[in-house]
């Protein structure tokens, strides 16, 4: 199978980093991949914060109610946010969640392709987590953090096989 396809099916969440620095060139490529995601009516209602400050990374690692401990040894944390001032109006505003999720998947896939470890840790829609991240990063109220993606050089890579559950594939009409 082609390399791009294999990259999709072999991507894993990486939570063990060496603490080494990921170069700016690599991070730029990863972010560009994020920006190549599709968005509803091409609104691109996203913002990306890259946190490289050791002190802030350590604070993220210790945030209560988060699964972000691995940030302690991450080189950076990418915070994918929705910008509610760039979204569609009305009920369709919430499409920003789907757009930024597609962006996040691109970021994870690009990291994997470049041999960099990354993991999606959820923030939105937890009210408490959104509040804590917004306070920590001085986010205005129209910028909503969807997640925190710690990235870093991979250490002790876990190579467990992911179990795939095919019971949720249906042909034609709905079948149990």
């Amino acid at each position: 199978m082609n390399e791009a396809y294999n990259n999709i099916i072999t991507r894993r969440s990486i939570r063990n980093f060496t603490g080494e620095i990921v170069s700016k060139e690599i991070i730029d490529l990863i972010l560009e991949a994020g920006l190549a995601a599709p968005s509803a009516v091409n609104k691109q209602p996203w913002e990306i914060l890259v946190v490289e400050d050791r002190e802030i990374l350590d604070t993220i690692a210790n945030l209560e109610g988060f699964y972000t401990k691995m940030t302690k040894k991450a080189s950076a944390a990418i915070v994918v946010c929705g910008n509610t001032e760039k979204t569609l109006p009305g009920l369709a505003q919430i499409y920003w969640v789907q757009d930024t999720s597609a962006m996040t998947e691109n970021i994870l896939l690009a990291s994997h392709a470049l041999g960099i470890g990354a993991v999606w840790t959820g923030v939105y829609p937890s009210v408490d987590r959104v509040k804590k991240v917004s306070e920590l990063l001085d986010l205005p109220s129209h910028i909503i953090p969807l997640n925190i993606i710690p990235i870093g050089v991979i250490s002790n890579e876990n190579t467990f096989a992911k179990e795939i559950d095919k019971s949720c594939i249906h042909y034609g009409k709905w079948t149990k």
């Binding site: 599709p38 789907q98 994997h112 470049l114």
Partner: protein
Amino acid sequence: MNETLNTIFNRRSFRKYSDRKIDKKTIDLLIKAGLSAPSNVNKMTWEFIIIDDKKILEKIATVTLYGKMTKDAPIAIVVCGNLDRALPGEGADFWVQDCSAATENILLAAHSLGLGAVWTGVYPTVDRIRNVSKAIGNVPLNIIPLALIPIGYPIDEEILSEKQLPTDRVHYNGF
């Protein structure tokens, strides 16, 4: 540049498809890509409905505003959230993010396999959810269609027209 990054950068929406069928093996590959997405607390809150029945494809095309091209596609994959698999409490809505990541994987896999696809939004528009569910026929209430993805082999015309540079803006030696 590696092939993965090229696929990510070059993926585009395709809305015109040739008559060529997609074989079962290729459809399975698309679904496997969707199933390989990450999901919150590994809940895998997704369900994939594959439509290859022309009648249903046509029915979907008539009830969706942005899904008209579905009638010309050999297949459509409807990515749905299964609320019964969702987390309790305020984490319930994480299914939207899980299913969006799965959708992006399917789009990228399609592109890497030479197929054309497009993400047409269903959730959270109530009318679209109802219309798509009804067109498929028997989707239970706990299964929420998030995205309708018509997929087919692109026709050359579209590749050319989308890739063509706007040459009317280029002027040599005067306007």
